[in-house]
């Protein structure tokens, strides 16, 4: 986990927040003593499977729910118990929640009008926002007369128009088709760069999170499992849940042979030794799980220098890469992914005895 910066740099500081639905005891504990700091101007993502509490955390910051305990600070000021209309925070809703009785321009103007801004300023800001999301030709349409992608842009413009200190995005891309989603991911990054507003983005899509975020908080069962940059999360997962949830991972039961600084030598099934990264504060002896990404291993002919041995049970070709499934002699299936190129020649066939060579510095030791 990265070190938290001092509170002055934090846009949102969540400290010790719990949320229990249905009253204690016996209620549903959606968030369990969560603490996380979100820096000014960063694109921060709350990532986790459905029911992990990410949306609840977003709704607490927006003010639609109030914490059962704990504090939520916005630039140092406690906003935990303020009603949503008194928080300089805006939300892009999953369903967009555009006002059906208002035009595109009226939707965008709504927040500014409620803040009592002068008419000229409202008009200017609406024009600027329409240009920002490239929706000028649609300004006088009703919101049910435009496409889903366009509604998405209007929802963004409406939430950005009052220049919030923090913009909350609740799975805003989940209703879009694949191609449009890709476009909007780039668009969102552009908007965040241009406006310099702190974005807090909720998603269950790990690829989306890795692509867009400055930092990610991985959540499950009301807890934050790890906070870090996309590469920290992907390359150095803090626990088995994170390693499993983000990307594909092979898990092997291993034993710690010896420890040197932040590394450990693990004894893998079959007796081979591998150097593995050991997270801070992890135990230094006994059984652990070795996590290895499929792209961090190569298939080698049997007998060649490789720590793991098995039988090739399946080959799955998927365009840019090929997945080789190896049934290890002393353990579970192990997946190896190799990048394809046109002059790749197929060296291996199903049923063949093979070895697996793991890349240097690519094993992560995790506690079970």
């Amino acid at each position: 986990m990265t070190d938290l910066p001092s509170t002055q740099e934090l846009a949102i500081d969540v400290s010790g927040v719990s949320k229990v639905f249905g009253g204690e005891p016996g209620g549903f504990r959606a968030l369990d003593n969560i603490s996380v700091g979100i820096r000014n101007n960063e694109f921060f993502t709350l990532l986790g499977p459905s029911g992990c509490g990410k949306t609840t955390l977003l709704r607490l910051i927006a003010g639609f729910e109030y914490p059962t305990s704990g504090k939520i600070l916005l630039h140092g000021e406690d906003i935990g118990l303020l009603p949503p209309y008194k928080r300089p925070v805006n939300t892009v809703f999953q369903s967009y929640a555009l006002f059906p009785h208002l035009t595109v321009a009226q939707n965008i103007a709504f927040g500014l009008e409620m803040l009592g801004r002068p008419a000229a300023e409202v008009r200017d800001t609406v024009d600027r926002m329409l240009a920002l999301v490239k929706m000028e030709p649609m300004r006088d349409r009703l919101t049910n007369q435009i496409s889903g992608g366009q509604q998405q842009r209007v929802a963004l413009a409406r939430a950005l128009a009052p220049s919030p200190k923090v913009l909350l995005l609740d799975e805003p891309l989940s209703a879009l088709d694949y191609k449009l989603r890709k476009e909007m991911q780039i668009e969102l990054k552009r908007l965040q760069n241009e406006t310099g507003i702190t974005f807090i983005f909720v998603t269950h899509d790990q690829e989306e999170a890795l692509t867009m975020s400055d930092r990610i908080a991985v959540m499950s069962a009301g807890l934050i499992r790890q906070v870090g940059t996309p590469s920290e999360i992907y390359d150095r997962p803090a626990d088995r849940f994170v390693a499993d949830f983000i990307g594909e991972t092979n898990f092997l039961s291993a034993e710690i042979d010896s420890v040197l600084e932040d590394h450990a030598i693990l004894r893998l099934p079959g007796g081979g030794l591998e150097k593995a990264f050991l997270p801070k504060g992890a135990k230094t002896s006994g059984k652990v799980t070795a996590a290895i990404r499929p792209e961090h291993a190569d298939l080698v002919p049997e007998g060649a220098d490789g720590g793991l041995r098995g039988t090739l049970s399946n080959i799955i070709y998927s365009g840019s890469s090929t997945h080789y499934h190896v049934r290890l002699h002393d353990g579970p299936d192990f997946v190896v992914r190799t990048q394809n190129s046109p002059d790749n020649k197929l060296e291996f066939s199903v049923g063949q005895a093979v070895g697996v060579r793991v890349h240097d510095r690519c094993v992560q030791a995790l506690e079970d």
Binding site: P83, Y85, V89, T91, S95, H101, T103, F110, G111
Partner: protein, 308 residues
Amino acid sequence: MSASDTPARIAQRQKTRNRWLLSSPALLIVFVAAIGPLFVMLAYSFMAKGDYGGVKPWEFSTDGWFGVFFSRDIFDDTLTIADANVTIFLRSLRLSLLTTLITLAIGFPTAFFIATRPARMRDVWVFLITIPFWTNILIRTFAMQEVIRNEGIINTVLVATGITSEPVQILYTDWAILFGMTYVYLPLMVLPLYASMEKLDFRLVEAGYDLYANRIQVLRRIIIPIVKPGMIAGSILVFIPSLGAYVTPRVLGGGKNMMLGNLIELQFGAGRNWPLGAAISITLMVLVMVALLVYVRYAGRSGGQHHG
């Protein structure tokens, strides 16, 4: 066979004919039971009145329509505006408008309350709202009389607790009519209001709060514009029967505080002036239509300027 008689066209024609055939029972009822009598009324209003009620057919007369607006002094034959009729017209209009406003004011929060209950409880509440319909309106109105008469529950409590020293005269006043009509027509306001509020996406309310609108602004700028069709439907359902109400003003208003329904009944009954009764009926109908057009036009414009 002409060029236009392609199989597709024949099939289309058959389809159209079948549709007419299927809707003919409904059309028959509309013509015979609704539009037919209207023409009879219109015809009666231009006939001379019969000596003992009824009309003299084939004898054209405008006396009925004349009587709607003017009255002839029985002694010196001078013409004056029929101020009794005008008073009754105005009273009907005033009481119906007030009834509509009061039922709207009470019905709106009621419907909102029901619409925000969990799905299963909503059905229970709607069921409870419909309970008054199980009892005949006459019986309900007499029950209301028991509540507000001088020896009734309200006055008994008022006197017993010393709030007033004497019973307050409510029965046989306009207040009694207003009270009764509000009671009788409230469900007709709540049900269409509920129907439109139930469809309201409450995430829009959250979006409103998120965009710095407080409770009152969310109500005025988001909820009311969206549930307006329900408000219009409810207002129409309450206003029209209020304007023609007969039982409630008769039982609770007594003989003095007549409304249009009672005035019309009087002409067909004791007054033995069918042409006048017919003319007043048609006037009432025109009044309702004009009021509706104005209302729908006004409500439609302020709600949806973007429709152009």
